[in-house]
């Protein structure tokens, strides 16, 4: 691996051309081709059966839910669904691949010709990345190489878990765009409830194809495939590093060789995964154990109509409906759940800006601090709206509201109850205020006289005394009014 680093000037002469292959694990109860549970963290090989162990004579039977979720994702990515798609066998030997082939789709995938908007150009036009195809396949098991010296340990619990592979066009020109694509993709996958799309947990995996060319050039250069990418930031760093490596090779008069590179996050560099002669010959052919998957037009239409509001549509709607700044909208639509939460509060309370501020402040802070997912957050939108009402109506002060909120988080009780329990309702009843004022006047006759004879600067002192007597419950605005009335009267 060349350690040299091309100068900024040299780098500037080239652009990167990136396409991404993303594997997403579908959120099904059971595996793609057998009735075994997809749950993780169980004892090794606990979730296996004749089918996912590839016992002699066992046959695959496809899971309807996997088809539904795959179709849903493909539709959300604006793909055309193939009414007759064909499963194929991808043949290769690996100990965590029990059948010696992966059931996938090859020349007739489930869906093709989609696209994903990943941002907006300066002129306001959308930045779009083409989706080449979305196909269904099964996951392999897990190989653990570092558990026993000289041995590999195999756990087949993951073997046969349903995946979709989402292949993009080589439409990305920077690591930043690649990152934006991945975030937009993850968001749409989450919105549609197709997958947890969690890269750390392995339910979303990324391989990158990258080539370089001189700016202005239109032909594609020789690409390399970068694997072993385990975070979005890792993808961006890996692309930068591979870009520099390729520029270094090409600007030095060499040629990039088509190969698979592995990202080494620790050392922040890519290294070749395998020698070329071991290049693979997967001998794809149509899976004879599964007839073609035939989807009725009516069914596909129904799936399209069942799609939820997607991130972009939601942002457009919220922009006009709540008149929030772009930044706030981005934050509030990060997940479908947060968007729903915000809209729930805004609808109950009325003041969208106040709702946004509280959610982006107190709520997100609490969720992050306790890292609680929103669906297990004890403060329901209606109750938060209730608290905001109390603040707006001057029934609790802003600082008291924060104490009430903390109690709501802890107990899940309604804000009114908590305000009473904490005794933080502000007192605005003339009778009560009058009684406190009388007491203060009785204790400090001299000050009262000087105030009445025009020493206005004493007003603050007297209000302070009343507040003190009320234990902070008196509504300061009302106390001031009352003081003025008495002085004149």
């Amino acid at each position: 691996m060349s350690g040299t680093m091309p100068s900024a000037a040299v780098l500037a002469r080239y652009e990167m051309v990136v396409g991404l292959e993303v594997h997403v694990q579908l959120k099904t109860r059971t595996k793609a081709f057998c009735n075994c549970s997809t749950s993780f963290g169980d004892a090794p090989n606990a979730n296996t059966c004749p089918i996912c162990l590839a016992l002699p004579g066992a046959l695959p039977v496809l899971n309807y839910e996997a088809v539904r979720l795959a179709t849903r994702a493909a539709l959300a990515l604006c793909c055309a669904i193939r009414e007759r798609s064909v499963f194929a066998r991808k043949n290769y030997f690996y100990p965590d691949l029990p059948k010696g082939y992966q059931i996938s789709q090859y020349d007739r995938p489930l869906a093709e010709h989609g696209h994903l908007v990943i941002g907006t150009n300066a002129d306001g036009s959308p930045v779009t990345v083409g989706i080449t195809r979305v196909h269904m396949e099964e996951d392999a098991g897990k190989s653990i190489h570092d558990r026993y010296p000289g041995l590999t340990a195999i756990d087949l619990n993951r073997s046969g878990v349903p995946l979709i592979e989402i292949v993009s066009e080589p439409d990305m020109r920077s690591s930043r765009e690649a990152g934006a694509y991945l975030r937009a993709l993850k968001q749409i996958i989450e919105y549609t409830g197709v997958s947890d799309a969690n890269m750390e947990a392995g339910s979303l995996r990324v391989d990158a194809n990258i080539s370089i060319r001189e700016c202005g050039e239109t032909a594609l250069g020789t690409k390399t495939e970068v694997k072993n990418l385990n975070s979005f930031s890792g993808v961006e760093r890996a692309l930068e590093s591979e870009f520099r490596r390729q520029v270094d090779v090409v600007s030095g008069g060499g040629a990039v060789e088509q190969q698979t590179m592995l990202w080494d996050g620790a050392n922040g560099e890519v290294r070749p995964a395998r020698s070329k002669e071991a290049s693979h010959d997967y001998r794809y052919f149509p899976e004879p154990d599964l007839p073609p998957l035939v989807l009725a037009t009516k069914w596909i239409t129904a799936q399209r109509e069942a799609l939820p509001e997607l991130p972009r549509e939601r942002r457009d709607r919220m922009r006009t409906e709540y008149r929030l700044q772009e930044g706030d909208i981005e934050v509030l639509t990060a997940s479908a759940a947060l968007g729903d939460y915000f809209e729930g509060v805004a609808r109950h309370h009325g003041d969208a800006k106040a709702a946004a501020n509280w959610i982006m402040g107190e709520v997100l802070a609490t969720l992050n601090a306790t890292d609680t997912p929103l669906d297990r957050f004890r403060v329901r939108p209606a109750d938060l709206a209730g608290l905001l009402d109390l603040v707006r109506d001057g029934i609790v002060s802003h600082s008291a509201a924060k104490r009430v909120f903390a109690e709501m988080v802890a107990t899940g009780d309604r804000p009114e109850q908590i305000a009473d329990r904490l005794g933080v309702r502000q007192e605005s009843d003339a009778g009560a205020l009058g009684a406190w004022l009388d007491a203060v006047i009785a204790e400090h006759p001299a000050e009262w006289q000087r105030y009445r004879s025009g020493e206005r600067k004493l007003q603050g002192v007297l209000v302070g005394m009343v507040m003190k007597k009320s234990g902070g419950r008196a509504d300061p605005r009302k106390v001031n009014q009352l003081l003025v009335e008495r002085a004149i009267g």
Binding site: R29, T30, N35, P44, C49, Y92, K227, R283, P291, P292
Partner: protein, 105 residues
């Protein structure tokens, strides 16, 4: 399209079959002999003929996303060649890098 000794070694590698060099010429002869008879297919006009994929056009019947899995009457430990702590055990790849990507395929 005659099979060469290198082809035999290549496909033997793909099929994970150790073929000692002594047997290669014999296999080359056999495979070419068999494939020779296949040339007859070349003479058939198949322009625009759909290849048979799967039998019957009913389409695929799907299963409900539910358990329970088909039970094993004997546990994996009862027939697996090598297990430890519930894991299946295999020797480590001698040259690991050359199949690393397979693991991720």
């Amino acid at each position: 399209m005659a099979v060469t000794p290198d082809d035999v070694r290549h496909i033997a590698h793909l099929a994970r079959l150790a073929v000692d060099d002594a047997r290669v010429p014999e296999l080359v002869r056999e495979l070419n002999g068999i494939l020779g008879h296949m040339e007859a297919l070349g003479k058939v006009e198949t322009e625009g003929v759909e290849p048979t994929t799967g039998v019957g056009d009913a389409g695929l019947a799907l299963r409900e996303d539910a358990g329970p899995p088909i039970p094993l009457t004997r546990p994996l430990e009862g027939f697996a060649p090598a297990m430890r702590d519930g894991f299946l055990i295999v020797p480590r790849l001698a040259t690991h890098a050359d199949e690393e990507d397979d693991a991720l395929a």
